[in-house]
């Protein structure tokens, strides 16, 4: 482990238990649905049972006469004022965005789309009244398959478009000047391996259903929402509905998980705002789980066609990637950009001389897609790590040997990749060696050989995933070059109170990560105050007016650095006061453990607390100095950060039943300098569970009519404790060189890395049967059928 040489504080690096826990473990939570306001009405939403249809008539008048009902509205009632839900990422200048009304007006384009809303005294009365709303639909053909959707003559999802293609985004290293031409690599290849991988649809499945309470306040609104992005919501809700930004206050109270699922501005946030303003009453809408699964955005859903070229000795010479990315029926906040984030990650940790990436965004009559933990990077990591195994099999090489031969060596950093990113640091060798040791790789390989030898019906498979990710979204200039509609900076304020206590205001918006604890540790060290004396304020645009919120593993890497910079400004102001009080030159002062001391005169010192009180009284300050130590900082990162790691998985596959059991899972992540190892480990555990869930358990499935058949947690099956093993985790520490804490971010690492490790392990177990791929999720049924097909001489 590398010591944090320039920050030898007592708090950073310590496994502090969380400040956040007390109210959550005692049932005093503040989730949005817990909130009741005087005079509040409850909303229920009528949703389309059709995948694709014209609304030929709709009549909500009978609902208005049901008991307890204040009002019922259809899309017609709000057609002139509801605007379109915002999409902030027009990835190409010609991207087609047909618009996304919150309440459907003339047509529905996916099952679950909102068509009417009832406001009543109780939720039960609102739900009851929905049945009185009459809607007639004229069905249109569902559009479900992406390739069929792009064919000539395919039915159009949206009548105001000429094709179901939203955009084509392309990158080619020869043209970009970041590498050689892909055509040369394809032409000159000694070995070529091509595969089609399917990234199934996933539901983010945050445990807290989305909920919103809107309170009209004067000519504005206060919006309480289960959102990851209160600041973005404030700006976007105001723009969408024509409410001046300064009249919109957004509060994100306790938020029960997000995983990307609470990033977009939702139809329900807009609808609830419209109803509250129309009625002049506070209004609450909380979705049911089944509403969440069918109408909230999904993640992934891509078809990945990938070709890798190499020399016979295993040197990779080129990578060619084509994606179909399912946008669903509408473009949500960052939906079009999700696969594009992956564009920079297919080359992963490898030195690849030529690279092409083409992505076609496609409309279908399914619920929209947008960010889900990892957003683009899990898909990329999956495809490259899977195809590296297939290339190894083709060449008869050990998968780890092939990786070692091609990865960027520790001494080669900083390294500019074929996708144009500059990785500042990394040590893939160290993480891999430690992971091999942790899992007991050689012993498992021996056991695998024995089981193969004995034709054991339960075969053992070993899977590798060596990954990196781009985190810390993001340098504003880079986001601009990608046509994203906002910057990537983050804001913080640090306020010294009279008694030496500290308030820190941050623009990030936690929903389970533990930022209050981690940021308190940082500030405690930076200012030399006690951990308990720091309060972190967040999640309310009134108390935390500036920020860009939490996603993309950015909170520490961008938000935490803003906090550091603001705290450092406080110290510099305090230094001026200290010099004045000690009658010394600022240059002669040393600051350590919360006190300024005159160099060489240990008796002559003043503490941060004393300085805070002196500033509060303002009786004796340097001439011309404002009586305040409070400081703001806005930090715009110079680069992404690049966490990496090696994940190893051992699975047992029962070849008679198809059942896959994870025998051992070991991972070594390098997230840079640790602020709080306990929190890091928690993030890794949860990330692993979600990545493994993609490999083994979860898929959002639509039938041929476009109905979601996995509309509850009975059918869409996030893993329980009994479905998962305990994980063996460790870290290596290779600090980022691009930020003053040397941190890299950890929120998405486990999810990005784990999925291919599991699939590679299952394919490894079954390769002697002639299997070279298994579709996700690798259910017993699917694994068994794959084995049978291979035995019968089928391709897989």
């Amino acid at each position: 482990m590398t010591a944090v040489a320039d920050h030898p504080g007592a708090e950073i690096g310590r496994s502090r238990t969380r400040k956040e826990d007390q109210h959550l473990i005692t049932g005093h939570s503040t989730y949005t649905d817990n909130l009741t306001l005087p005079g509040m009405v409850h909303l229920a939403i009528l949703r389309s049972p059709m995948a694709h249809a014209k609304i030929t008539s709709i009549d909500a008048s009978a609902a208005r006469h049901r008991p307890g009902v204040f009002a019922a509205f259809t899309g017609q009632d709000f057609a002139d004022v509801q605007g379109n839900l915002p999409c902030a990422w027009p990835v190409t200048p010609d991207m087609v965005n047909p618009g996304a009304p919150s309440l459907a007006v003339t047509q529905v384009n996916h099952v679950g789309e909102a068509v009417a809303v009832v406001a009543a005294r109780t939720k039960a009365e609102a739900v009851d009244a929905l049945e009185a709303i009459e809607v007639e639909y004229d069905p249109l053909p569902p559009v479900l398959d992406m390739e069929a959707a792009l064919a000539d003559g395919a039915p159009l999802v949206h009548p105001n478009t000429t094709s179901n293609r939203s955009y084509t985004w392309a990158f080619e290293s020869g043209a970009a000047g970041t590498g050689g031409p892909i055509d040369d690599a394809l032409r000159d290849a000694e070995v070529t391996v091509s595969r089609r991988f399917i990234q199934q649809r996933l539901a983010p499945s945050f445990m807290e259903p989305r909920s919103v309470v809107v309170e009209p306040v004067g000519d504005g609104v206060s919006v309480h929402s289960a959102t990851q992005v209160p600041h973005i919501l404030r700006t976007m809700l105001g723009l969408t509905l024509g409410i001046p930004e300064h009249k919109v206050r957004v509060i994100a109270p306790d938020v029960g998980g997000g995983f990307g699922g609470k990033i977009p501005v939702t139809p329900e946030e807009v609808i609830t705002t419209l109803v509250a303003r129309r009625l002049g009453k506070p209004a609450k809408y909380t979705e049911s789980r089944s509403e969440s699964l069918m109408s909230a955005h999904h993640g992934r859903d891509q078809i990945q066609d990938i070709t890798i070229t190499a020399k016979r000795d295993g040197t990779v010479t080129g990578l060619d990637v084509h994606l179909f990315a399912n946008m669903g029926a509408y473009l949500r906040l960052v939906g079009p950009g999700v696969p594009i984030l992956g564009a920079f990650m297919y080359n992963a940790i490898y030195k690849i001389p030529a690279y092409r990436f083409v992505c076609e965004g496609v409309f279908t009559t399914k619920t929209a897609t947008d960010a889900y933990r990892g957003a683009g990077r899990p898909e990329a990591t999956f495809a490259i790590e899977r195809i590296m195994d297939e290339l190894a099999a083709e060449l008869g090489l050990d998968p780890l040997e092939l990786r070692r031969k091609n990865w960027i060596k520790h001494e080669e950093f900083p390294f500019t990749t074929v996708a144009g990113l500059t990785y500042d640091s990394g040590n893939y060798e160290a993480a891999t060696e430690r992971a091999l040791e942790l899992i007991g790789w050689d012993e498992l390989r021996r056991e695998q050989a024995e089981r193969r030898e004995q034709d054991d019906p339960v075969q053992l498979g070993l899977g590798v995933s060596t990954f990196t990710e781009m985190c810390g979204l993001a340098p504003s200039r880079v986001l601009g070059s990608l046509d994203y509609g906002a910057g990537g900076w983050e804001h913080a304020s640090v306020r010294m109170l009279a008694t030496g206590k500290v308030e820190v205001v941050t623009g990030i918006s936690p929903h389970g990560q533990g930022h209050e604890t981690g940021f308190s540790q940082i500030v405690a060290d930076r200012l030399g105050v006690a951990f308990e004396d720091v309060e972190i304020i967040h999640g309310d645009t009134q108390s935390s007016p500036k920020g860009l919120d939490t996603y993309g593993s950015r909170s520490l890497v961008v938000g935490g650095i803003a906090v550091v910079k603001a705290a450092d400004k406080v110290v510099e102001k305090a230094r001026r006061v200290a010099a004045h009080l000690l009658e010394a030159s600022e240059d002669d002062l040393e600051f350590e453990a919360g006190s300024f001391t005159v160099k060489g005169s240990p008796g002559s010192s003043v503490s941060m607390g004393e300085i805070a009180f002196a500033v509060f009284t303002a009786h004796n300050l340097p001439e011309g100095m404002e009586p305040s130590l409070d400081s703001d900082a806005t930090f715009d990162p110079v680069n992404f950060s690049f966490p990496h790691g090696t994940h190893l998985c051992a699975v047992e596959v029962d070849t008679e039943t198809g059942r896959v059991t994870i025998r051992k899972y070991a991972c070594v992540d390098d997230v840079g300098n640790p602020i709080n190892p306990l929190l890091i480990e928690g993030q890794v555990h949860g990330g692993l569970a979600q990545g493994i869930a993609q490999a083994l358990f979860e898929e959002a499935v639509y039938d041929d009519a476009g109905n979601l058949t996995t509309g509850t947690f009975v059918d869409y099956t996030p893993p329980s404790a009994a479905d998962l093993p305990s994980f063996l985790t460790d870290r290596t520490v290779t600090p980022s060189t691009d930020n003053p804490l040397g941190v890299k971010g950890v929120g998405e690492a486990g999810t990005i890395a784990s999925t291919p490790a599991v699939v590679n392990a299952v394919v490894d177990a079954l390769r002697p049967f002639g299997v070279n791929d298994v579709r996700m999720p690798m259910t017993p049924d699917r694994v068994w059928r794959t084995i049978q097909a291979a035995k019968d001489g089928g391709a897989k």
């Binding site: 238990t17 473990i25 817990n34």
Partner: protein, 158 residues
């Protein structure tokens, strides 16, 4: 409307409810016991788990009228003043919660698990809480928390 009486977290209540009212909705909406949460509509997630006369139930699968005459303990009734229940303390000590939404139900289910099996193996713990879903923690630290209370050797991770 039907009249019901019950004791919740040490306070006795007498109320009129619609017969269709679920216990969880009665707790949250009529009694203001919003510490007990609703995460699904199919009794899969377990966020609403409470103790009913010494047994844990998912309060979304019980009608309020079925709980007439019973004594109920929710997450809000576990701590004795500032003294946490050992399971609450263990969840904190082991970082067994992140967003906290599954936590009330998970703590109630974990207490019940140990009531029935005071010294469970790791596998028994995992099976014992499989009716409660958590999306944040990957369950490992929840298992550790239960092991801490059980006095088992903490060794989920070698």
């Amino acid at each position: 409307m039907t009249k019901i009486n019950m004791t919740v977290d040490g306070v006795s209540y007498s109320d009129e409810v619609e017969p269709r009212t679920l216990l969880v909705h009665y707790l949250r909406e009529q009694l203001g016991k919003v510490g007990t949460l609703v995460g699904c509509d199919t009794s899969n997630c377990g966020a609403c788990t409470v103790d009913l006369d010494g047994r844990t139930v998912k309060s979304c699968t019980v009608l309020a009228v079925q709980a007439d005459g019973s004594t109920i303990t929710t997450i809000e009734g576990l701590a004795d003043g500032s003294e946490l229940d050992p399971m609450q303390q263990a969840f904190h000590d082991n970082h067994a919660l992140q967003c906290g939404f599954c936590t009330p139900g998970m703590i109630m289910a974990s207490r019940d698990l140990l009531r029935n099996n005071p010294h469970p193996s790791e596998a028994e713990i995992r099976e014992g809480i499989e009716g409660n879903l958590c999306r944040c923690t990957g369950y490992q630290n929840i298992v550790r928390a239960v092991q801490q209370v059980a006095g088992a050797t903490a060794g989920a991770n070698s």
